[in-house]
Subunit: 436 residues, 2 copies
């Protein structure tokens, strides 16, 4: 019964389904770990210990509830939960109890998932960081906006936690914290009941310590149970390395990470893996994403700006003001650009390539005082709505993890998870293969 | 100062901006009308009389606030409002006060709109009707789910009211109540803060008594102020009559409406207007929409089904059960079908046709005891995400209004409004031309 908190979600579910371990014990192990580490990591905004324990006992006594039976889960505090305070990372909503769960939270509970608590988000999933530190080095940021979820999973506090990505809020913290982060296709998970930044961009996903785990999490969040069963690839995929037009922002360790990734990719592709450039239609996607996000934020958070301006951070106020100056014409032009690029990229992923490998972030986690890091390497992929998964492949000058993201065509989430497993199994370092 | 409640939104805004009328007097006229007719029409779930009056006085004294300065507005009770109870048409949420306004409500208030009250929606915008009656004949349904908004606008209680459409919840009640109903392109208005039925389908729009008015409403709800300035068409459009594959469900008055519409279309097209068939890719869209909606509803309302099953209607419980039996494979197949059809239709509206004219509903409003009517003539267009506008063109055997919908390509909302004005001005009956 020792070290149950170090089980992956998939391992835990297997043991729980055979009644080899009890949900109660798994939960207590997680709570122990949180007790030891939370004062340093600060991943949580609230814990629902009593409710979670009582649910665990109920599940231990009852029939098998579903694919998350007895699994403790962290929920980003951007998601509504009826029984836990939901503040969206803002003092405006301190002690707010929503009337209902977010749709994806209700689905996870229905599958037997135990919502253990809420994890720290930056202010309204924007850029002002919370208290969470990087479990690898507490003077470094865990990234954002899904800071608490990435850190809690990395630090073995829970095997699974939810995130959301509007710019780079899943892939970036996953890379900084050395965990698997999965941002599925746009629309795969309902956004209902999650505080909105940008309806065009907001994408729900999750963090785990293995690829199977994030598949399991997404299976519950979306209702697509096929994602809970991930094989490895049986055919060799067409893979390209995509440094993107932002490559000049990459630090040395991002180049190292791509080199490691290329080597693993060549093993599964059974041949040379070349650099791959996106079509012309994808130029300017990073800038377009930035403008679309700011423009929509200025509308999404208008209520808060009018009613609670004094409780918003100066950074956020500036973003909202900047967003309000973007003309609707420019916004509409950016949406049109994105649509053309989506069409071009969907064709690309049908005819030319199966998987692209790109940097997850510019480098390893920045120091806490420098903020949550730049989402520059994620903005374009998020706007394209493509499924992306972060895999840890290298480390930076401070010994912190550095990941790459694997990307595929829209709707091919299951294929991406399979490819990611094959890829992880081809990594040189055996401990990194545990991610598969 | 008499009959201010009969002014169109655009007329009222003109007079308000010149300070020829006061917002307070307009509001009092609307309240008078509501006082006279509400016991019969039952369009409202709540009225915020005091707040509205105080806001009107403030606007009368202050600077011009925006494009809706001083306009009384009805908000469908599916939209969150922080100062008015928001029940989503369900006893579960009786007396629920959300912590914030829906994004589109905040935008309307920011433009000087006065939220006068909340209008009746069917249960969670699904099929169980509310108390609202058709202002033309109280034994008939106003349609649904945006029942109260359509009826309130038709009965001169407010010049403008919001709606939402997942199957046919704007276009159908607009046709039954003889008002202009505008369902813009999917994604044009943020869905944030509106209770979710189906993220893939839910589309926010509005009702007015003129085409200019719904353009004005949408301009505020979306932030696209270009929609507040609608000309008529300067070039002759390519128009087709699309009876759709559901034509066998149409009643005689729907055929009459199409005949009237064809005549008006031929005037603006300056030539013959022929029938137009959708491409093969659009076969089965009606069935696909129905399955996608049911499947997503079973997830969107899972929380309510688990926690408050006894407060859900038997009809809704049945829908949720039906939805839960649809396999994810079938759901994914339907989404794929919709995507192929969207691509085909977008090309069509670029290369072959500018405007399609189709039935808004099978016929005139059914009797109250027969429900809110069948959305069959709207399901496919909603799934395609195309902008649709209902214009009143004829009447049925009971003398009730019968509309047609004008439809165009995705994102061409401004063009659709212009085309609709030209079309309305070509109608034979002079009173119908007032819709322009």
């Amino acid at each position: 019964m020792k070290d149950l908190e170090s089980l992956s979600a998939t391992q835990a579910i297997k043991a729980l389904s055979k009644r080899e371990i009890r949900a109660t014990d798994l939960l207590l192990s997680c709570l122990d770990r949180i007790g030891q580490k939370e004062s340093l990591v600060r991943a949580w905004t609230s814990l629902g210990k009593e409710n979670a324990l009582s649910r665990a006992k109920q599940l231990d006594k009852g029939a098998f509830q579903g694919i998350l039976h007895g699994l403790p889960i962290g929920v980003k505090d951007l998601y509504d939960t009826y029984d836990l305070p939901t503040a969206y990372g803002s003092p405006i909503y301190a002690n707010h109890y929503p009337v209902a769960d977010a749709v994806s939270v209700a689905l996870m509970r229905q599958e037997g998932g135990i919502i253990l608590g809420k994890t720290v988000t930056t202010e309204f999933a924007s850029f002002k960081g919370g208290a969470t530190t990087n479990p690898y080095a507490s003077k470094h940021s865990p990234g954002g906006s899904s800071s608490g979820s990435a850190a809690a999973v990395a630090d073995f506090m829970v095997p699974l936690a939810t995130g959301s990505q509007t710019a780079g809020s899943i892939i970036r913290p996953a890379s900084f914290c050395g965990v698997v982060g999965f941002k599925p296709s746009l629309g795969k998970v309902s956004i209902a009941g999650v505080k909105s930044l940008s309806v065009t961009l907001d994408t729900m996903g999750c963090f785990g310590r293995t690829i199977e785990d994030v598949g399991l999490g997404l299976a519950a969040m979306s209702g697509d149970h096929r994602l809970a069963k991930i094989e490895v690839l049986h055919n060799k995929p067409r893979i390209g390395i995509c440094k993107t037009s932002n490559w000049s922002a990459a630090q040395k360790e991002a180049a190292t990470a791509l080199a490691v990734a290329r080597h693993a990719a060549e093993i599964i592709a059974k041949g040379t893996v070349d650099d791959f450039s996106l079509p012309m239609a994808c130029d300017d996607l990073t800038q377009a994403q930035s403008r679309i996000m700011l423009s929509e934020m200025s509308r999404s958070l208008l209520f808060e700006r009018i009613h609670y301006a004094k409780k918003l951070s100066p950074q956020l106020i500036k973003q909202l003001s900047d967003g309000a100056t973007i003309s609707y014409e420019q916004y509409a032009k950016d949406l049109l650009l994105a649509n053309h690029a989506k069409t071009a990229v969907a064709e690309l992923f049908t005819n030319e390539i199966d998987i692209l490998i790109a940097p997850s972030a510019a480098g390893e986690a920045p120091s806490m005082r420098d903020g949550t890091g730049d989402p520059i390497f994620c903005r374009g992929w998020t706007l394209l709505g493509l499924p992306c998964i972060n895999i840890n492949v290298a480390s930076g000058p401070n010994g912190l993890p550095v990941g790459v993201q694997l990307i595929t065509g829209p709707g091919k989430d299951h294929f991406l998870l399979s490819a990611a497993r094959s890829f992880a199994l081809a990594l040189p370092d055996p401990t990194l293969r545990d991610q598969a």
